[in-house]
Amino acid sequence: MQTVFSIAIDALAYGMVLFVISIGLSVTMGLMRVVNLAHGAFAMIGGYLASYAARDLGLGYAIATLIAVIGTIIIAIPIERFLYRRIYGAPELTQVLMTIGITFCIIGIANFLFGPTLKTIPLPQTLQGSADLGFRSIATHRIFAILCGLVVAGALWFFIERTAFGIKLRAAVDNAAMAAALGVRTEVVYAVSFAVAVGLAALGGVVGAELLPVEPYYALRYMVTFLVVVAVGGAGSIPGALIACLLLGAIDTTGRYLAPEYGEFFFYLAVILIVTIFPRGLAGRLK
């Protein structure tokens, strides 16, 4: 019984970390209809900025996270203005080629600037070490990651479903021309959503850094995992992404405990089954 609880907790923690990192991609792919393969690259930029701020400048964890999120958004603004704006509404292949190209450029620049070695983000005293749950101990930063995931999910849901901006965003996604005719400045709406998505990527890069350490190939290494979460959850759906992360986290963690030699077999088997039964993901929006 203890073991079952233990696995459940690991699964929850892993799923929430996945959620924080992948939700930004769900926003760009589902709401903005851009296949953004550079999502991991933005998460990596966030990780590097936080690492630089906390390790080399000696700033606190909270400030470093803030710098990472804002810094990544500032870096992303010209990229959005000059590159992404051209591919809104373009065929998927064009988007894939453009964003994978951006990814490779960012990998090269990161390698040049920060070198090929691993970078860590020092945790504050309160997040270090582990908390005792009675039957086992769990790293404190994992609890922090779970909370971050819940906060992000709630805030994003409120932002998209309950604010005026969310309404404009959904209108612009469904019919850009009509929304524009009604006075919605779609360019601004897209730019803001893109900034939010990139900011979430950066946050995920920082919060998930303990599990997925920051190094130049981060952007490519975990790309498939992010895409799988979006595909299973249904692009653009926050509850869908949350359920997908928890489900995949549970399957992956249990599989790794019971039969590690099968590798990611169970993970991908589950992906295949879910996508076969729900081609648009667990909570995908119909076109």
């Binding site: 020092p122 190094e215 249990t254 590690p260 030699e261 590798g263 990611e264």
Partner: protein
């Protein structure tokens, strides 16, 4: 006609004898991509050799030509090795970070009359692939076996083995198991996990459930080792007194700053630590650190490359700069010298390097830098994996 041939031969003989030659050495390694750091270390070791010893052997000058294979890619490695031999006319092939890359190039050696000096690839079987292969690095068997004795001496009898599911990982598992059972211990469970594993918490749970007193682990150097060690600490295994053993790939010097305090106290066995205390190593580290630029990036492949160049220079000396692979390899069989890592010998039978394996512990030195401090020496270790290959 006869006279013409005689003249031609005379001219050929004269020209090779009278003029100093440039001897080309082709080095294949990962110089870009995720493993660029290891390739950089190859280059640093070679540059350090030239900085200390010069690039001349007698009248002949050594010229190194680099070819990049970013990730393990046997087909590309073979194509590049062929190009080096045919187009560039190299007399020696060297480098090779990954085993499949080295294996793919071995069929060329005999036909091309070219010896191969392996500066890293660590699977035992490579030296059996061709009589012209000489290795100056280590094998996973060689570095993983001594830790079994360390575990036994520490009073541990039940160990769980956890390795990445790929060639060297399985080598490490077999090496440890063989050596540990010889010492009278038992491996209670052997887990192989996929290379792409990021979250090690479930593995740690299994380690805890297995009731083992210690864990033997092997993962390739790089991002995953960090996650593994952290998971070990944070899931309370370190606190529960479970000991951690592994070969030194875990604590390569360039990963230590990222591991930080989480790495303190880790015991690993390996053939080289950058902090090895000897005059030879001091000279080497000084030159290699200069060559690589950032001393924190210096790691074990550099010493394999450094000694590889030493072996090649001895080969050139023995052949007088002529292309004669058999004579070259024959000349270095049984060759002994003092490497930056300590006393070494090329075993005449296997052509693999016999060397000291050190038990090291990660500590903070006086400057607050994390180092692998050598605490015990296992002298003159050969490659126990070779017996396994022949069986």
């Amino acid at each position: 006609m006869k006279r013409l041939v005689a003249a031609a031969i005379a001219a050929a003989v004269l020209s090779s004898a009278a003029y100093a030659d440039t001897i080309k050495v082709g080095v294949v390694g990962p110089f870009s991509g995720p493993f660029a750091l290891q390739g950089k270390n190859f280059k640093a070791g070679i540059d350090a050799y030239f900085a200390i010893n010069g690039n001349k052997v007698g009248d002949d000058e050594i010229e190194v030509i680099y070819r990049d294979v970013p990730q393990a890619d046997p087909a590309q490695s073979k194509a590049l090795a062929q190009e080096l031999v045919v187009r560039e006319g190299v007399q020696y092939l060297a480098g090779f970070y990954f085993t499949p890359d080295a294996m793919a190039a071995t069929p060329l050696l005999e036909q091309a009359n070219v010896p191969m000096v392996i500066m890293n690839a660590a699977t035992s079987a490579i030296v059996t692939a061709s009589p012209y292969v000489v290795r100056t690095s280590f094998t996973t068997w060689q570095t993983s076996s001594p830790i079994a004795k360390v575990a036994k001496d520490g009073g541990v009898t039940k160990v769980i083995s956890v390795v990445s599911d790929y060639g060297p990982g399985i080598d490490a598992e077999n090496a440890f198991k063989t050596a540990f059972e010889k010492e009278g211990g038992t491996v209670v469970e052997a887990i192989r996990m996929p290379l792409s594993t990021n979250d090690f918490s479930p593995i740690m749970q299994r380690v805890r459930d297995s009731g083992a007193e210690a864990i033997f682990a092997f993962l390739p150097s790089g991002p995953t080792t960090l996650g593994f060690v952290k998971a070990f600490n944070e899931n309370g295994l370190k606190g529960a007194g479970i000991k951690f053993f592994g070969p030194g790939d875990f604590t390569q010097e360039s990963d230590l700053p990222a591991l930080g305090d989480a790495g303190l106290g880790l015991q690993t066995t390996f053939h080289y630590s950058v902090s090895h205390d000897s005059p030879e190593n001091k000279t080497f580290v000084e030159a290699a650190a200069k060559a690589i630029g950032n001393p924190a990036e210096l790691s074990f492949p550099s010493v394999g490359a450094f000694d590889g160049m030493y072996v090649i220079s001895k080969m050139i000396e023995a052949t007088g700069g002529e292309q004669d692979a058999e004579k070259a390899v024959e000349a270095v069989k049984g060759l002994s010298w003092t490497s930056p890592r300590g006393p070494v010998t090329i075993d005449p039978e296997s052509r693999h390097i016999t060397q000291n394996i050190y038990l090291r512990e990660v500590v903070k030195d006086a400057d607050g830098k994390y180092i692998n401090k050598e605490v015990q020496t296992f002298e003159k270790q050969g490659d126990p994996g070779l017996a396994f290959v022949k069986k």
